[in-house]
Assembly symmetry: C2
């Protein structure tokens, strides 16, 4: 195992991909009117890309077009103070090609939110980075004084 300078276990690319595939929900990080923005989304993976369904007039749809975004998944146990996170960065694009749209429409991907979500956003993931809080050896509480 390798650890970063903050004491967190560094996860390899294969493990990052496995964890990404296990997560029901992720968060897209983008810029909206020059301010940092983040939105939870359910998603599917296709050929290693993240696929999101949104509405044509969504903020995400407008902001993500051709932009570099981050995509994050995590799972933490608040009682045990353990967990992991995986973050990827990559270019997002709105899918307009009819053939590609048909392929994505066949995925088992329906938005959890109500309403029409007929726009697909596809994020080509690069630079996967995963970290895990080491388990088994709980962090000692610092004693005051």
């Amino acid at each position: 195992m390798r650890f970063d300078q903050g004491g967190l276990e560094i996860l390899g690319a294969d493990e990052c991909r496995t964890l990404l595939g296990s997560a029901p929900l992720g968060r897209v990080v983008f810029t909206d009117q020059a301010l940092p923005a983040v939105q939870p989304v359910n998603f599917a993976l296709l050929d290693g890309d993240v696929i999101i369904r949104t509405s044509v007039d969504s903020k995400l749809s407008a902001a993500a077009e051709g932009a570099i975004v981050a995509f994050e998944v995590d799972d933490f146990d608040a009682a045990a103070h353990t967990g992991w996170s995986v973050v990827a960065v990559g270019e997002a694009r709105v899918v307009r090609d009819p053939g590609e749209r048909a392929e994505l429409d066949a995925l088992p991907l329906r938005s959890w939110a109500p309403g029409e979500r007929d726009q697909f956003i596809r994020i080509r993931l690069e630079m996967l980075r995963g970290r895990r809080i080491p388990g088994g050896s709980p962090t000692p509480e610092r004693t005051p004084g």
Copy 2:
């Protein structure tokens, strides 16, 4: 109840603050070397500000100094396809004043990650925005104490 154009319930500011106070973990969204970055953190609230412990040489510490960041908390039920999210945007700063540092050090806030985390970052939250997928659970009552 009010709904946004995507069919999600719009949460009021009071409810956003209550949900923020109920979350054990949030995610800081910032910019790292001109790329979008996101990091899960445990946190405390003080006077409505988010307080995070990190290490002096952390990426977050370097990137957050004086920057406008987003802070996100959410809770989703993947089986029921329900849940909520709250996002706030505000200025982050590294706390250097000894008196303020002492005040923050007295908070019940210990990083879940191992190692020394002696740097405090304080985020003044503004522009709270909350959304809930209709059909989700009601906001939990704030527990006393």
